[in-house]
């Protein structure tokens, strides 16, 4: 069934990139359609509840300078702000913020829902409409056909996404969300050069089971940094500190013991990982001389107990993960709220499209 409206631009996928693409397109006057398989997940922070850092922070500032949403949403939802490399020159300084997941999401949703020229529609895209080597639209799961002059693919980690935990793996776009399989298949059929990327996450922890008394507090910077060039500190909600702990030799032993069941090290996982996000397996192997690695316990929000332990992203099997976390100072009695693992997904070399 052909949808009646014809659009200038269709954006497939409503994650961070899709949001910026859809807003930018609509802002410049193009009639834009944002298609997501689940509208409730628009503005969701898929991985850790933070924005920015080395390199990433630079990117957010650039997007901000071009009128993008991310920095603004971070000022609305940010609960801890710091400047990294503050003792070094300006070029390498980076802003980094922890954000309350729900406040951030709300900020993005508000922007998306109030943007003129922007249509939001909940439908998973399964196929591309191609006429004479030119893309002219998309087809969704239900068979709806949408026409547009331009289609922007921002599927994030969803294309043929696989989640690996130990030696088990299952198809998923993100924990709790289905992957885009038909679309991935279709893109391969179109003979676009496809590569594979990987990324990892750690288990989430119930904050009530953490012994904060033995940990080091890390408050945000004072004066509090502002992310957007057009923002101000008054937009920030209540601020919270992060907490710092570290791995021990015992932790490293446990990890080394489980490497033979790690899909990364057994070669099951293919793909290139993000530069600034090595897994804990990677870290203890690459920096074998270090007796401990820092872990940052990041609060997921003002109204939840969930804690994201930044620094132990892993694909090791469940039992190893449990032991590993237990061996970390302050987390001996931890209770887990969520398990995740290593994520692999298809990516298209962008310069060839």
């Amino acid at each position: 069934m052909k949808f009646s409206e014809v659009f200038d631009v269709i954006v497939v996928g409503g994650g961070h990139a899709g949001t910026e693409a859809a807003l930018a397109s609509a802002r410049s006057g193009c009639k834009t359609l944002l298609l997501s398989h689940n509208i409730e997940t628009l503005g969701q922070m898929s991985c850790n509840p933070s924005i920015g850092g080395i390199g990433k922070g630079h990117l957010v500032k650039e997007v901000d300078a071009l009128g993008g949403a991310m920095a603004h949403a971070t000022d609305i939802g940010g609960i801890q702000f710091r400047i990294l490399n503050s003792s070094k020159g300006y070029a390498v300084r980076a802003t980094r913020a922890q954000a309350d997941r729900m406040l951030y999401k709300q900020a993005i949703r508000t922007m998306l829902e109030n943007q003129p020229n922007l249509w939001l529609f909940q439908q998973a895209v399964d196929d591309l409409l191609v006429e004479q080597d030119k893309v002219v639209g998309v087809v969704t799961q239900l068979g709806l056909r949408f026409s547009a002059k331009t289609v922007v693919l921002t599927a994030g980690t969803f294309l043929a996404g696989l989640i690996h935990v130990g030696q088990a793996n299952y198809q998923a776009g993100r924990a709790g969300d289905p992957p885009s399989l038909s679309l991935a298949h279709r893109l391969r059929e179109l003979q676009l050069p496809v590569g594979r990327l990987k990324t990892g996450t750690p288990p989430r922890i119930d904050g009530r089971t953490i012994d904060y008394s033995v940990l080091q507090e890390q408050p945000g910077d004072d004066p509090v940094p502002v992310f957007s060039f057009m923002g101000n500190a008054a937009q920030h909600p209540k601020q919270m500190p992060c907490w710092i702990t570290e791995t021990s030799e015992r932790t490293h032993e446990i990890i080394r013991g489980g490497l033979d069941r790690s899909p990364l090290f057994t070669g099951v996982i293919e793909g290139v990982g993000p530069r600034y996000c090595p897994s804990i397996e990677d870290k203890i192997t690459r920096f074998a001389g270090k007796t401990s690695h820092q872990i940052f316990l990041e609060p997921e929000g003002l109204t939840t107990h969930e804690i994201y332990p930044n620094g132990i992203s892993t694909s090791l099997p469940f039992d190893v993960q449990v032991e590993l976390v237990r061996s970390i100072k302050g987390l001996e009695n931890f209770r887990r709220l969520k398990w995740v693992g290593k994520k692999t997904f298809n990516a298209i070399q962008h310069h060839l499209i």
Binding site: N85, K88, G89, V92, H293, F296
Partner: protein
Amino acid sequence: MFQQKSDTIAAVATAQGRGGVGVVRISGSGIAAVANAVLGKLPVPRHATFGDFLDENGEAIDQGIALYFPGPHSYTGEDVLELQGHGGTAILHLLLQRCLSLNVRLAEPGEFTRRAFLNDKIDLAQAESVADLIEATTTEAARSAMRSLHGEFSAIIHTLVDELITLRMLVEAMLDFPEEDIEVVDTTLRDQLLHNIQIKLQQTLLSAKQGSLLREGAHIALVGRPNVGKSSLLNRLSGEEVALVSDVPGTTRDVIRQAIQIRGVPLHIMDTAGLRSSEDEVENMGMARTHQTLQRADLILLLLDGSAGLSVKDEEILASFPADIPHLLVYNKADLLGEKNLALRSDAISISAKTGTGIEELRERMLKLIGWQNQESGAFIARERHLKALNLAQSHLVNATEVLNHPELFAEELRLTQHELNCITGKFTADNLLGEIFSRFCIGK
């Protein structure tokens, strides 16, 4: 990574003119079609195959040997077919036209070597040494080009780059992962690595300067008043009667360039009109050009009549020399001095162009003054652009030492240093550079 199907190119690979053997070289994706049409079959790879080269009617254009190299193990990395026939101009022309009629186009200058570079068979410095090898006029130059082709120059650059990367990793880890507690750079290690790199770079620069001399040679200006024997000396140095020699002052009107070699170093001797003011317009033109020539020289030889000594006019001429160019006072006509010994300054030498006295010593002094160090181990050939890149790399390293306390500026200067080195091997090339380099090759290479 991204294999593009390249069109097929062909050219005569042997020099212009007649020869015993002439070679037409073809490279690209359409070799099979060409072989089938011209040879009637695709020859066994790497087997010298004797047979006829056929035209479109099946008649033999020539008879010779075909060599088929399937890629990637060929000069260009693509499929290559070489047809070795008789080296007659007409016959080669016919053979080439035959190939060009088969959906093959004429190769541009240096295009075969360019493809070799683009297909990672050789790096840029090696590609350049191919041209240098062909153009080498002295044995030493040829040997040095060969060394470069073997990758000796490239290997030195790669070692430098590797050491730079180690240093960069040390510094950049601290910038990229500030929360990993790598706050403090091991300054002793850093300083030591930096120092080692600087020493190595300096050595490479010196070697490259020698290599550059072998390739570019040096320009020597031969200056002096009329009739001091410039033309005689020129003839003596080059071993041929090149310049006009006559008793009438002012006979050498034009700046004659004569290429000679001393110990394999090419030297371009520029003979000049005898310096004196003249009524004669032609003569004046010659002298104006002389002054221009001096600017370009790497060494100026002021030839003097030894029997007359240094005159006022000579002093004037000496004073007009550019201050930054080395010069040598050459007192000629030692044969006329008899028993008299000249008290010589340190920048002077006594010779006789007529008898040959002192000529050997003159050659040695000339080499020394242009900066040639007699090397036991061979120099690799180097070009001006290599020297330029090495000099720039060196200046970035100097900058780096001045910002040791600013890690991000230090990292940037190191990055720029590596960039310059990458330009040499072609790991990084500015868009127009490749065009410039390969356009100077001859067609067929």
